[in-house]
């Protein structure tokens, strides 16, 4: 009989939590979502000394208040699911900030062990931490680790299991100032009587801190506690001259500061390290921008070059099976449906996902893990601010130029629902790699590259204007940028590869069923002979309002599947790839503009539904179709006035 244990990893963002998670669980892990939430849940298992240990990687957070979903999830998990042990991963190079979180975990009454990570980074910064003293002061076992090199991980596991076996971890409660402490105890006694799901002392502290979620829950149990709490909070405010929540947070930081100063020895380092010089250069107020532009262009260029090359090889290889397939099934309706519908759908998924998305994710995680993404967010904050978002939102926007699906999922890095939705809307308007293929292949090739560039500029202006309009019309206030700037470090390749793999499988799960299904639907429409009537119906809009050829309406329908299909279908329907000979420059421009704007493709719609719910996804889709038709019609009339060569 194998005994089961559950261990949760908790700590600030970027302290090496996921590296420890990967070191502990290896490949036995899966990433899903927390029930009903859009926050990721990473879970893995390992076997150690006859135990089967389930390891949960909680989201990286700074506090256990309810500002963000991540914080709420973490504290609910620790207090209510009661893992056998919490491993608090602490960054030795930023000890004070990390201890602030540790103290809150202690308040929550969780049995815990501390992994004092990145001791090497700390030493390079001239910080030496006495882990034994830290352990004595907190009453919690402390194991120094260098997770990125796997050092201390085995010991950490040993100590963790021993701690669970001993079963009596008594972390030392931190005591606040006397006048605060008295009131906490008074409130805690009252809370203890009503039997709340969280520990009484912790609840009392959170009440005094003004935590909304706890307050609502207690109000339902016993409203008199809330009025007593308000009286006590006012008393503390009078004594200290600051709001009660400020007093408690300050005192907790005071304790963190005192402990940090007692256990660390700092010897100033005279020479700036490579990481510091790199930081100064990449976030420089003048040089930072050209460096960013060059880096991003280089990344996009290499992904496009690599993707194009691999995609061609893959699709040649896969289409090589067509004759074989046809000889087995014979020519006929069934063959058309299976090959043209299902298999071609799969092939298109594979030839897009693997060659473009894999390197894209890989490089993105290298950038994130190294710390460059936060520098980009820092530099772009002022631009994103104009559309009511902060610098971090630039990351999904950047992703969107590759593919809108990961970009939609990437909006999770924003702190609030409002910010997530706003970023999601902006992201679906960005032309992805497939759209770029259409623009370059049509306008760039047959009208002129300067016109393709103009389309991009117009699109950017439209994205900006619509983003701003959405920001003004959504209720609520924007929140500002608040982000820790970590030192540059070498990315941990195994973690990066793991992240890439999970993202890819997520993409496949969301996008593939839709790509295949809609491919089948469109093929059926074609086979039933509905294309002609559909085309006639569409021509009301496409021909009369947009000034396009009737065939172009049908190819726009195909574009819902994948945007580059608009171009492929156009070639099929017009029976030529020399678009310049059959289409006018205005038609090509309008067509490209509509393709850029008209709808997030079916996979993006699926991602939107997953992230924002059916109603919002539907609204975004309908709005974008209507807007694209409007913009296309306006563009048609404006461009007709000009004389395009």
């Amino acid at each position: 009989m194998v005994k089961k244990l559950t261990i949760a990893l908790a700590g600030n963002a970027n302290v090496g939590k996921s590296v420890i998670f990967n070191q502990l669980t290896g490949l036995h892990q899966h990433i899903g979502n927390w029930p009903g939430k859009t926050v990721e849940k990473a879970e893995g298992t390992l076997h150690f000394r006859g135990y089967e240990i389930d390891v949960i990687d909680l989201p990286g957070i700074y506090s256990l208040s309810t500002f963000s979903l991540e914080e709420l999830i973490s504290r609910e998990y620790i207090a209510l699911e009661r893992p056998d042990l919490v491993i608090n991963v602490v960054d030795a190079s930023v000890l004070e900030r990390n201890l602030f979180f540790t103290l809150q975990l202690i308040e929550l009454g969780a049995p815990m062990v501390i992994a004092l990570n990145q001791v090497d980074v700390a030493e390079r910064k001239g910080i030496k931490v006495d882990h034994e003293k830290l352990s004595r002061l907190l009453g919690v076992p402390v194991v120094p680790t260098i997770a990125i090199r796997g050092l201390g991980i085995y010991r950490l596991l040993e100590v963790a299991v021993e701690t669970i076996e001993k079963g009596e971890v008594r972390p030392r409660q931190i005591l606040y100032g006397r006048e605060v402490e008295e009131r906490i105890e008074k409130l805690a006694r009252l809370v203890a009587k009503v039997g709340f799901k969280y520990p009484a002392r912790w609840t009392a502290i959170k009440l005094l801190e003004g935590d909304r979620e706890v307050e609502e829950a207690i109000r339902k149990l016993d409203p008199t506690i809330i009025s007593i709490k308000e009286k006590l909070a006012r008393e503390i405010e009078e004594i200290h001259g600051h709001p009660c929540s400020t007093v408690i947070t300050s005192e907790r930081y005071e304790v963190a500061n005192r402990i940090a100063e007692e256990v660390q020895q700092i010897t100033p380092i005279a020479k700036p390290s490579l990481s510091e010089r790199l930081d100064a250069l990449t976030s420089h107020r003048l040089l930072g921008y050209p460096i960013m532009v060059v880096t991003l262009l280089a990344i996009f260029y290499s992904i496009f070059a690599f993707g194009d090359y691999v995609s061609t090889i893959l699709s040649d290889f896969l289409y090589g099976f067509e004759p074989l397939f046809k000889s087995v099934l014979g020519e006929g309706l069934l063959e058309e449906l299976i090959w043209g519908g299902i298999i071609e759908g799969l092939i298109s998924g594979v030839t897009i996902a693997l060659p473009y998305i894999v390197p894209f994710y890989f490089l993105l995680y290298v950038l994130e893990d190294s710390g460059y993404l936060s520098r980009i967010a820092f530099l772009m904050d002022v631009v994103m601010h104009k559309i009511g978002l902060h610098g971090k939102a630039f990351i999904p926007v950047m992703l969107a130029y590759g593919c809108n699906v990961p970009a939609c999922l990437g909006c999770r890095i924003m702190e609030t629902e409002r910010e997530r939705l706003l970023a999601g809307f902006v992201v679906t308007l960005i032309p992805c790699a497939a759209t770029t293929v259409v623009i370059l292949g049509l306008v760039g090739k047959f009208v002129g590259i300067e016109w393709a560039l103009l389309l991009y500029i117009v699109d950017l202006a439209i994205v900006f204007a619509l983003g701003r309009a959405a920001f003004k019309s959504l209720p609520g206030e924007p929140i500002g940028l608040l982000m820790e700037m970590h030192d540059y470090k070498l990315p941990h390749m195994k973690t990066v590869v793991n992240q890439t793999w999970f993202r890819l499988s997520e993409f496949i799960k969301i996008a593939f069923p839709f790509i295949v299904l809609s491919s089948l639907v469109i093929k059926s429409i074609e086979l039933v002979g509905l294309l002609e009537p559909v085309s006639t119906l569409l021509s009301l809009v496409t021909v009369n309002w947009l000034g396009l050829r009737p065939e172009m309406g049908v190819s726009l329908v195909f574009g819902i599947l994948r945007k580059e299909l608009t171009l492929i279908m156009l070639a099929t329907l017009l029976k030529t790839t020399d678009f310049g000979s059959v289409l006018t420059p205005v038609q090509m421009m309008v067509f490209a503009l509509v393709t850029m704007l008209y709808i997030p493709c079916i996979a993006t719609i699926a991602a939107c539904v997953k992230e924002f719910g059916f109603k919002k996804a539907f609204f975004i889709t309908v709005f974008e179709i209507a807007f694209a038709i409007l913009a296309g019609g306006v563009a048609f009339r404006l461009l007709s006035l000009l004389n395009i060569p």
């Binding site: 500002f67 400020t246 300050s250 976030s283 002022v382």
Partner: protein, 90 residues
Amino acid sequence: MEIPLSALKKGESGIITSILSASRRGRGGSWGFKKRLMDMGLTPGTEITVTKIAPFGGPIEICVRGSRLALGRGMAERILVRIKREWLRS
């Protein structure tokens, strides 16, 4: 002298005296705003040093409690500090 954090120049230090509530907000928003800053260690009495200032009214980077934080300009305007200019004393 009490001035907003955003008025400090690069390399200058100050001690936080208070954080102004966000304008035009209900109690909820304001609690979240202040709490978020304080959870990151920006409590009254804390010393901070401006390490970087992004151009065009962009964010600033400060050193606080041994780590560095990027802070939107709007947020920096609501943090009041008592300036600590080393050269004034020497």
